[in-house]
Symmetry: C2
Subunit: 750 residues, 2 copies
């Protein structure tokens, strides 16, 4: 227990209620690194002002923030090797967040964007020449891909790199206004190099986007080089200290060997040698996306730490009359708002760890010439990027709102956190496009689904596919036989695919074969009608006595029942989207038009598939927790997570008849019971994340709970408070009021 | 049609597709004032720089923004009477937004907060003395209620005003740190007076919070007066030009007559005279809340104008291969994201107009001594404040995300709009508290519901209640007899309250009586079990052949069918929340504990009730549209609105068995069909709102569609771009890189 003196007694009271040791949970959360974190913290604190911002960032303008971040970045780099293992990203990340908060520094972007891009794209000679300079910070680089008119659709990028065999150079050009590079972080003023993605032209042919290593500024004067126009793109919702920039080329020449040639190559003659696999060029994006997920969990953990601590300090209203105002976390509405967010932190963190490992596995495989898992990583990474960025953005906003009015103040730290994480919905791939990428691979896979077949080869192939830990469930036939309603005769219904006649003479298959059978029984019913929109709707069919719903016999008393429901939901959405596309094609639409028509359904399917994955990972993580007290509280969190998520994904399962009202009742009861169970451990749970006040930068989230006494002090930093009367008061409002008074005095004299 | 030259042809193409005249719709939306708006605009434009910000606000720091807003406010005031009718709030609002964007000015707050508070709280003598000074802008005031430790729970305010009969003065004090006034707009630096809410003490007794008129600063020097500490509370998520302030009193004395005495009074002796009605003191809050709703619609209309125009300019990806990149609004996913937001604009606007009128009716009634509608206004206003502020915040965020990466840039105008509207979730009453206020009156009403009774007096009373346009539906017995399933014998089910046996011998009642009957049939089933959580769950009951769902025979081909579904859903949630509370009480909980336990259910009930109200108002508005082409397109919008809202509120109706999958299919089909129908009119619809580029302050939302060519120019305002190399570059990053290079050169020499 973390019981310290000189702490708000409301927080101490909460900490005493803990049923587990926050240090042990923290050590699990931080993968055994909790002690290391404390060592790094102690080192940073010992450096005093040198490694601290000169005032809370929010009181500085952009130029001042950039200057302070530049100072801190250089100081941070000079200390890094003395205290952290610079090859461990998690230590880098923590060290950075202690010093720069969640403001990126130019070196941070350099390390998480440019260096990995170079590692993944340089051939051996290029790596030998350039990587030491990058790692040694002799140059600072960024990754310049996005253009003003082109974001996630890489193929449409307009910047050109045209090979000139006579000089063995590439000529870079920005042919249109929309081709202007726009958004790359630190590009405007800070970096002197960039990995630039441009359309490669050689021998009169375009080979699509490829990476180039491009010097942008003079190493001595830092002035932008001739042929290059560079600048800051202006202020944004968040991240004010980042000089996201624009870049234009005008016949800017670079040597042939500045094309990064690990995968594709251009020979001196201009001959183009293609890469091993079309998507290997995307590995840098995959790296960033897979690293993002765990980072998402950390941001959300910061927000929920602030909100839960403050909710045990803030008192408002009475529950028992006369007993005084209560802690707002004692309201069920506040628990319902915050504790599911806490559960999301763990779900996202566990998923993040999984996908990190998967990334390194895939990179190892690629280097060994095996690209078999690449598509899985790409598909899963896209869906997770979208789903988790939504969850954290909504989650941080919930935390902000849970802090009432003070959540709107920068004193809470939540506005900066919100405006920063909100960027993740769009950067590194717009979320809807991300979901549609995941859907692309789901549709490809599900087209191969065949639950009942006599073909032995097919059966073996199927069994192989079922083993895939990410998508195997799609190939598993749902265990519907356990759900036969003994009493109903024709018990499939509008939307119920899990119930069917117990008649051995009828082949009941999922997916298209199933439909054929269903159509035999109710000829007017099509698969698509069941799931989504009723074509040629015949009113006499509704309410037909053949149509009854008898819900499944799952009681939702066990975790795996929930997983089955998520899998069922996700499989259902995937197969119905596929079926809809096939229906549309039969109606004469092109494959692309059908895809567009199905867009919303495809997004639903991808979300459900990704959510199912997260649920599975969470369930699989619990047994890995050794300490029993920690495992018990994490089981409570898991129950909250799966019940809350299922309640909020239930609409399709209810519509289909998979879930009944009684079952919903059980699930909801579990959800509310979990809230009550977790309530006493709430502060201890967020304490486990081990954030320091340095990182949180929040008056509301202070570890000592001394919120109100520090709000006034915090506000004293406001530049407006340097004056009792603002310098321009008399010029405008003062003289206007004086005039008005004078005029009336004169009027009254008349 | 608004077809102009020198416009992006992509927008012109859209405008040509319109099936109606945007001017006519605009004139309806602006209640016949479209021509007036154009006159006001022309006047403002003619004044040039005097009424324009000196640069886009986002490039200025807070101090610079405050100075520019002070300049604009004074200029605006000096021009106001020449061009607008200053007694029409809508003209004031428009004039202000043309000049100050959506940044509040000190005069704006003065007019919308302080003046109405004074009008509602001054007795005749006080009004005669002070109101002319306020209206004449001889002083600037704000409304100071919220304290650091106390927001929505007025009764807990700590600031005291203690009457001293010996001097006939009140002594104001801030007894604790949490009693510090915190948040009032313009309080920190701009105003010199405030309406201060303080606990009134007289003759040793506390009479609760009352309003006082308090001078804060010297009229000549503008210095804060002795006994008063004033300042800015620091930066926030949004509204940087607003000096939200703090205020502390130390034995600060004001004359007795500075207590505002329209309702309650303190006589010279100290005797306290109470107000006519306990809630009349809240009328200022009700004014602000009822005015907010229409304002919400306008903000959302601005966001959706930006996003829809830009979505017809931005091209990304191909639908037909080889046909070039398409406008992103051609993606169904983008339509699904934006067009429901457009529908919300109208729904919120129509509701806003209704509640504005209701407010004036109620104020008229109160002045005539009739407070019968006050509770209705208070209840409805609270729910609408919560629901619409969520809708606009989510809607603006959707619009921002629909603009991809550029939505994150301040060039879109959307970050400022978002951070401003996000405040509305909390200010003027935290949303959860607002919903619980609405729930309070719903519970009071529904406890009186009695669908079947022999008592004639009761029947008459009921019929009276049914006539209430806001809550009448709760008292109407659902027309369940039309939904009997002829074939089923015992066809009520888990969750289905709309289906029941066609057996005249059984009294089928809604609400408690109904339950008694149900319990007779299935003794273990309680009302609460049906709706929410299953207590004493008996597994053998699930799947029982008695339990069948036969959905209602509503086909959802008519608008009123939708209204019936919304009413049903809302009544269901209200009655089940009531029942849950009663169950909890039977289990031995106090009324207050039961209320807290039911918190989440109560919020759901309030939301549904408010949503039902909005649907009804939208439906009732359509026939008021005279132009047929306009009415047709507004019917499309209505269909989208009700189908989208019903799909997203369907979970309970499905659970209960009111809706079947087939019906969901019809509703969803209607929703998607509406999207496709509205798509060609999208740009014309947002053109109807008639926003000028002055108001939108958005490069993406430009009326001429010239987005990309103006992004670079906009960014040139960035103070960072005054330098190619930032002044501090060499000091930090420059010298660090130089050092690193030097060190390696030296190493390589060794």
């Amino acid at each position: 227990m973390i019981i310290e003196h000189d702490v708000n007694p409301d927080l101490t009271e909460e900490r005493k209620k803990a049923t587990f040791d926050p240090f042990k949970l923290g050590n699990f959360f931080w993968q055994g690194q909790l002690q290391r974190r404390k060592e790094i913290l102690a080192y940073v604190e010992a450096q005093g002002a040198e490694l601290s911002p000169r005032m809370p960032e929010v009181f500085m303008n952009r130029m001042e923030q950039m200057e302070d971040v530049a100072r801190l970045s250089v100081a941070m780099a000079s200390h890094a090797e003395k205290v952290i293992d610079v090859f461990k990203p998690e230590e880098q990340f923590y060290f950075n967040s202690l010093i720069c908060g969640f403001n990126g520094s130019p070196f941070h972007l350099h390390l998480i964007m440019a260096v990995p891009a170079m590692i993944n794209s340089c051939d051996d000679d290029q790596a030998t020449e350039w990587l030491p300079k990058l790692l040694n910070r002799e140059v600072i680089a960024t990754y310049a891909q996005t253009e003003m008119g082109h974001g996630t659709n890489l193929r449409a990028l307009e910047t050109t790199a045209t090979y000139d065999p006579s000089t063995e150079q590439f000529i870079l050009n920005t042919p249109t206004i929309t081709a202007t590079k726009w958004w790359p972080g630190a590009l405007g003023k800070s970096v002197n190099y960039a990995v630039v993605i441009a359309q490669l032209w050689t021998n009169g042919k375009c080979y699509g986007p490829h990476p180039f290593w491009v010097q942008l500024r003079d190493l001595d004067t830092h002035k932008s080089l001739p042929g290059i126009t560079l600048g800051d793109i202006g202020p944004k919702l968040g991240t004010p200290s980042n000089d996201n920039g624009f870049l234009r080329f005008e016949n800017y020449r670079i040597p042939r060997r500045y094309m990064l040639m690990k995968h594709a190559k251009v020979l001196p003659t201009g001959e183009y040698l293609p890469p091993l696999h079309a998507k290997v060029g995307y590995t840098s994006m995959m790296y960033v996306r897979s690293m993002m997920i765990y980072g998402h969990a950390i941001y959300l953990a910061q927000a929920v730490t602030i909100a839960i601590r403050y909710s045990c300090i803030r008192r408002q209203g009475e529950i028992k009359p006369g007993a005084g105002e209560v802690k707002v976390l004692d309201y069920t509405t506040q628990q319902y708002r915050l504790l599911p967010v806490l559960a999301h932190v763990f779900a996202i963190a566990f998923t993040g760890l999984y996908i990190n490992q998967l990334y390194y596995t895939v990179i190892g495989d690629i280097n060994a010439g095996d690209v078999s898992l690449l598509a899985d990583l790409h598909s899963l990474g896209s869906g997770l990027k979208a789903l988790t960025s939504w969850q954290i953005t909504r989650g941080v906003e919930q935390c902000r709102l849970a802090c009432g009015g003070h959540g709107y103040s920068d004193a809470s730290g939540l506005p900066s956190l919100y405006t920063m994480v909100a960027g993740s919905l769009t950067y590194e791939g717009e979320n809807i496009v991300m979901l549609l990428q995941t859907a692309r691979s789901l549709m490809k896979m599900s087209a191969e689904v065949s639950y009942i077949t006599d073909n032995l080869e097919k059966i073996e192939e199927n069994e192989q596919k079922m083993k895939n830990p990410i998508s195997g469930y799609i190939f598993r036939k749902p265990s519907i036989s356990s759900r036969i309603n003994e009493n109903s005769k024709w018990s499939f219904t509008s939307g119920s695919l899990t119930e069917f006649v117990k008649d051995e003479s009828i082949q009941v298959w999922y997916h298209s074969t199933y439909l054929v059978e269903l159509r035999r029984i109710v000829p007017k019913l099509t698969f698509y009608e069941i799931f989504t929109i009723s074509y040629d709707f015949e009113s006499d069919w509704v309410g037909d006595s053949d149509c009854v719903v008898a819900p499944t016999k799952i009681f939702f008393f066990q975790v795996l029942d929930y997983l089955e429901a998520f899998e069922h939901n996700s499989r259902r959405l995937i197969l119905s989207a596929l079926d809809y596309i096939q229906q549309q094609k039969k109606l004469g639409r092109s494959a692309e038009e059908a895809w567009n028509e199905a867009g919303v359904l495809l997004c639903h399917a991808s979300k459900a598939h990704t959510q199912t994955f997260m649920v599975r990972i969470f369930i699989e993580t619990i047994p890995k927790i050794e300490d029993i007290a920690v495992r018990n509280v994490m089981e409570d969190i898991l129950w909250l997570y799966i019940s809350y998520e299922l309640v909020h994904s239930a609409v399709g399962l209810l519509e289909e008849g998979f879930l009944s009202s009684i079952q919903m009742g059980i699930i909801r009861k579990k959800m509310f019971a979990s809230l009550a169970k977790i309530r006493p451990n709430s502060v201890a749970l967020v304490d486990s994340f081990d954030f320091t006040d340095r990182e949180l930068r929040s008056v509301l989230g202070r570890k000592d709970g001394k919120v109100y006494e520090n709000l006034l002090e915090w506000a004293s930093n406001s530049p407006l408070n340097e004056h009792d009367v603002l310098p321009f008061h008399e010029k405008y409002l003062g003289s206007a009021m004086r005039e008005a008074r004078k005029k009336r005095e004169e009027m009254s004299k008349l």
